[in-house]
Amino acid sequence: MLRVIGKRLALLVPTLFGLSVLLFLWVRSLPGGPATALLGERATPEAVARVNELYGFDEPLLLQYFTYMGKLLQGDFGTSIITGRPVLEEFATRFPATIELSVVALIFAIGVGIPLGYLAARHYGKLLDHGSVVLSLIGITIPVFFLAFIFKYLFAIQWPILPPDGRQDPRINATHVTDFYVLDGILTGEYDAAWDAFQHLILPGLALGTIPLAIIVRITRASVLEVQNADYVRTARAKGLMEKTIRSRFILRNAMLPVVTTIGLQTGLLISGAVLTETVFAFNGIGSFLARAIFELDYPVLQGFIIFIAILYALINLIVDVSYSVIDPRVRVQ
């Protein structure tokens, strides 16, 4: 299996190379440039020209690309035009936030989605089934940011039981070690800080988790429905196996394969959902920063962040592939 993983990782190199070319061209084909974003309504043509010259935006594209790649190969992703900090550092400081948020969203989506889908299938055609189908349809059709707004309005403003924004109340003055705030609170023994950080994760986590939740419910339901009528299940029943064993070993386990694929894909897609959710909840992760970079045409950040996200996406998919063989020993990663 190690060889397969190695091969898959090696394939990542040409993929990323292609992506870097496309990204580079796309970002630069956007109208205008960072100079106007930087200078605002004060911009005189001379100032814009000066900025472009200093930043090297006036050089031929090919030359700009080689300069960029040259640095990239040395691990230099450039500096954010907006913040003046290295892109790598910007990513690293915000990444834990988005991971924390995604984990909460995923726990919610998986923890609720699989049982709900499974129960819907078991009670096929009954009220629970119809209810879960309608719920998942709503989950898929409502835009994330709208849901985020609703959650925030209801549970942070109308009935203020949860914090409306941010990752942690700055008044708490928490110690940060890993930048995973909940973990930090546990590690340092500042449990109030951990609890506060966790509370800040609930609303955005639920909002972000809704779409994967809805999809997981549907896939689980469909998959369980298919498996529970399979020949081997009938055989197992005929053999007189206990219903509990049949459900767990024969139905659920076999039904999990497509669900795991879905979870893998949805995990990657969480990042795009995070762009909106994080903005609504003023949650300082890579999503909200990416949104800002798009508005202000921060070339280096756009390029760097999208490459990082692509790597992440590829890695998640690799993990999903590997996990197949754990769930279903007949599947061998090839």
């Binding site: 109208p31 930043y55 049982p115 403003i157 409306p164 110690t175």
Partner: protein, 564 residues
């Protein structure tokens, strides 16, 4: 989550999962306490007063830089104003210069050299003494910027106001700084610059600790040629003489400053200020409603009545802004002065203000607000008179009106224009009344809109404006009408010369009366329509009693009064 257990609990991998969970829990317990909590024990400054002395203010973005010399944005300056002070301050509530770190100054007759008498007994937060040497160190530092530090986007204000550096002395306004004694320094300029003293009230020219600047390589902003990188100083070591000291900056989340116990002036109710970064305007309003912040700036006009009703305090600033309807003279119809007069008469500015702009907005008769020098009380005005507008159009040869492109930006809120779409709709209807049909041409603010207005001829009438930096007339009308620009597309050498001469005047009084004349000259030429001076507002939690609102945003938080 309860449900995950029912799903996973019966899997054969149960034991493994249980082992992993237990392992994780045990290691978390073992680890907990391994890492030292760096939390300061309470009981310090915060517990002393009767009020909660921590003040949380929502900022719309991170500061671009903690080094104000390399910043030009409002959020950087908001933070700078807490940490730093300049030689010259601002008279509270006005835009006029006032003594700060310099107790007084005297300018030579030729206007070229100014001698500053410095305040005694002031030290920087790092213990460095504030004296004439520190003053000259700062002036020389700016003058000797090299490479990327000279980029207009980096040292914006020095570039614009002092125009040149040590390696381009012909262009430079600054010449030298001389230490005359511990508490006296003389700054000599190479060229007259009447706005020199008011300019020094800008945070960009605040006094910074020479020791810290050197220790943390403040000028080392090279990084890469693609984008300049903040220096170590600008990222986390700003040292000034102000009422607050820099504490920490959690980029993208919050920035904290705390009271400078050695401060020479008054220390107020606020001992710690936390600037929380919330970039979505809606989210700032909601944060105030939810009680997670104490205040924020640039309240959307639509939210003002709602917040007031809920018991929040709205503080409008005196306007230091101008919103105007730009006119592109390159368009045939618009080059006709009669048509421009007709447009002016067609607009009911008061109705526009009442319907689309925040409370406190003043009607504009010229392109500077009344707190700026050179404001002309008796300037020619064009009253709202749709009949007169129709007559003028007929006289100009357009009895049935004409069609014109109306450019406006979307999804943007500027201090002088909170909701451009509403202003557009309102003005379109007004112009329609007199027969001018507008073709809507919306664009996103950057880069499309600004590029189109400032870089091309492809626009008709448009919305734009300005927020002033300090009491400098040239900063308004000089920027707008000082030279031929694609934005307006006219060539008026007489006006250009007048503005250029006024800029070079050394005598402030003479300059002021010249600007009054120029404002009249502009009113008669009528190159564009000054609409309003919108007043930006701040909103605060009920526990805030007063806030030192300033037209030029010179707001230092030690002046905030709290009641709980």
């Amino acid at each position: 989550m309860f449900t995950s257990k029912t799903a996973r609990g019966t899997l054969p991998t149960r034991k493994r999962a249980a082992a992993i969970t237990a392992g994780a829990a045990i290691s978390a317990l073992l680890l907990s306490g391994c890492v030292q909590s760096q939390r300061e024990e309470d009981g310090g400054a915060a517990a002393e007063g009767e009020v909660d002395s921590t003040f949380v203010f929502a900022a719309s973005s991170d500061p671009a830089s903690l080094d104000p010399a390399f910043a030009s944005d409002g959020e950087s300056f908001r933070v700078s104003r807490q940490i730093f002070e300049g030689l010259v301050g601002v008279e509270p509530g006005t835009a006029d210069p006032a003594p700060l770190l310099a107790e007084s100054w005297e300018t030579s007759e030729d206007g070229l050299s100014t001698t500053f008498a410095l305040k005694e007994g002031v030290t920087f937060h790092d213990g460095t003494e504030f004296n004439a040497e520190a003053v000259c160190f700062n002036f020389d530092r700016w003058y000797n910027f090299t490479g990327l530090a000279q980029a207009p986007s980096v040292s914006y204000y020095y570039n614009n106001l002092f125009r040149g550096f040590a390696d381009s002395p012909d262009a430079a306004v600054y010449e030298s700084c001389e230490v005359n004694g511990d508490l006296e320094a003389t700054v000599t300029l190479a060229k007259p610059f009447a706005g020199f003293i008011p300019a020094l009230s800008l945070p960009a020219f605040a006094m910074q600790s020479p020791t810290a600047l050197q220790e943390f390589n403040a000028d080392d902003i090279g990084g890469s040629s693609e984008a300049p990188q903040l220096s170590e100083y600008a990222q986390g070591h700003p040292v000034g003489t102000g009422p607050f000291k820099f504490d920490s900056w959690n980029v993208g989340a919050d920035l904290t400053v705390s009271a400078n116990e050695e401060y020479w002036g008054e220390q107020g109710d606020v001992q710690t200020v936390i600037f929380r970064i919330i970039d979505d305007p809606q989210a700032r309003t909601q944060a105030l409603q939810a009680g997670t912040i104490d205040g924020f700036d640039l309240v959307s006009p639509a939210d003002i009545p709602v917040l007031e009703e809920e018991g929040f305090m709205i503080v409008p600033r005196d306007p230091f802004t101008i919103l105007y309807l730009g006119i592109n003279h390159a368009v045939e119809e618009l080059s006709d002065p009669l048509v421009r007069q007709a447009i002016h008469h067609a607009i009911d500015k008061q109705a526009l203000i009442d319907q689309t702009l925040p409370e406190g907005t003043q009607l504009a008769t010229q392109f500077i607000p009344d707190v700026v020098d050179g404001y002309n009380e008796d300037v020619t005005t064009y009253e709202y008179d749709p009949e007169r507008a129709k007559e003028l159009l007929a006289e100009a040869g357009y009895p049935d009106g004409f069609e014109v492109q109306f450019n406006y930006p979307t999804d943007v809120s500027r201090p002088y224009m909170p909701t451009p779409e509403q202003v557009f709709t309102n003005l379109s209807a007004q112009l329609g009344e007199v027969g001018i049909t507008v073709t809507p041409a919306p664009d996103v603010w950057t880069p499309d809109y600004l590029d189109r207005i400032q870089g091309t001829e492809n626009h008709g009438i448009h919305l734009l404006g300005w927020t002033g930096d300090y009491n400098d007339t040239d900063n308004f009308i000089g920027v707008f009408f000082g030279q031929e620009k694609p934005e307006f597309g006219f060539d008026n050498p007489e006006l250009f010369t007048a503005l250029s001469e006024a800029r070079g005047m050394t005598d402030r009084e003479e300059q002021t009366s010249t600007y009054e004349e120029i404002n009249e000259q502009i009113a008669q030429f009528n190159p564009a329509i000054p609409l309003a001076h919108p007043a930006p507002s701040l909103a605060f939690a009920p526990r805030v009693d007063s806030y030192p609102a300033s037209p030029v945003n010179d707001e230092v938080f030690n002046m905030i009064e709290l009641n709980e």
